[in-house]
Symmetry: C2
Subunit: 195 residues, 2 copies
């Protein structure tokens, strides 16, 4: 959402939630988002939008340019297909590996209100899935410039996040995929993508 | 997608893919969807839309009535928030339990092109998450008639699927949640929801 806002060139007032201190599990935060996840977009009428993709969808409608989610029904569906693929097979695989291994996340293997025990085998499985995903995207980006369509979209933003997130589990784009390395360099130089 | 089409009252030509025979893993199917998942919507220009939500989004734009995904930006974002919540915390929890346990799915613990080993602990964890999710939705549906907004939407369709899917792992709506039982009865009587 932060990168999405930067690409749009818009600013919204933000409140940092201290996850390390468990602020997302307090009653005060549950009143904003009972699912205890960040980010949340609070609208002026008090309604909470509480999934990143739903927040981006709202922002895209409120600020259509630059377009990041598709200009017509077909483009929107193609971009949504790839965005969800990157999420399921990429981002969530890395998260699965990290959350089921990290000492800091013991008992917090999933986001949300419930405490969930780690499963070491799942961490390893997540790593395998992440490796396979990175190779698959590497093959794709050898033959085309962006993830979903012929320009930078929300699917590229999520892949950028996934590649940088994968460094936390010491995985990276395999060396031979020069197209994906080129893509990553370009994506990293865009608005909002500074660490 | 089948229920979504029925709610819209539209028909599209369909081709059944025999998952039991591994037809989704053949080269012929990979040419349609390299991710080897169903359903896929093939457009007239040959483009494949390959995630259920992306397919529904396309159908919603092509056939706006009856509205199932929101009438304005705020409604669309609220419905998308709940839809994704039901998917992540409900549908995927049940799938996690079933896919990591079923004898028929040995080596196929995830959808997609790669063979993934089952993890029995993950099956148990999925069951715990599914139980917690059903209770949480039960509490919600005690105080409001539908999942996301004041009418039946795609979020309700996914909850209906999740509740019926949960029967495969022998979980059900806890008895005390009469609101959710009432909701399930009504949802089950709607178009497309026959077994």
């Amino acid at each position: 959402v932060r990168i999405f806002l930067a690409e749009k060139g818009i600013e919204v007032p933000t409140v940092q939630v201290d996850l390390g201190a468990g602020e997302h599990l307090t009653d005060a935060f549950r009143a904003v988002n009972p699912h205890c996840t960040v980010p949340v977009l609070q609208l002026d009428d008090g309604v909470s939008i509480f999934e990143s993709t739903a927040i981006c969808q709202y922002l895209e409608e409120a600020h259509p340019e630059p377009n990041l989610m598709g200009r017509d029904a077909e483009e929107r569906a193609v971009i949504a297909s790839w965005h969800r693929h990157v999420e399921t097979d990429g981002f969530l695989a890395v998260a699965e590996c990290l959350r089921n291994n990290s000492k800091r996340l013991q008992g917090r293997a999933s986001t949300g209100p419930d405490n969930i025990d780690q499963i070491p085998d799942l961490s390893e499985r997540g790593r395998k899935r992440a490796k396979a995903f990175l190779a698959r995207m590497g093959r794709r980006l050898d033959t085309q410039p962006y993830v979903a369509v012929d320009r930078y979209t929300i699917a590229d933003i999520l892949l950028l996040i996934t590649v940088d997130f994968a460094k936390w589990i010491k995985e990276d784009i395999p060396e031979q995929f020069s197209g994906m390395h080129r893509w990553h360099e370009e994506a990293s130089a865009r608005p909002g993508s500074v660490e």
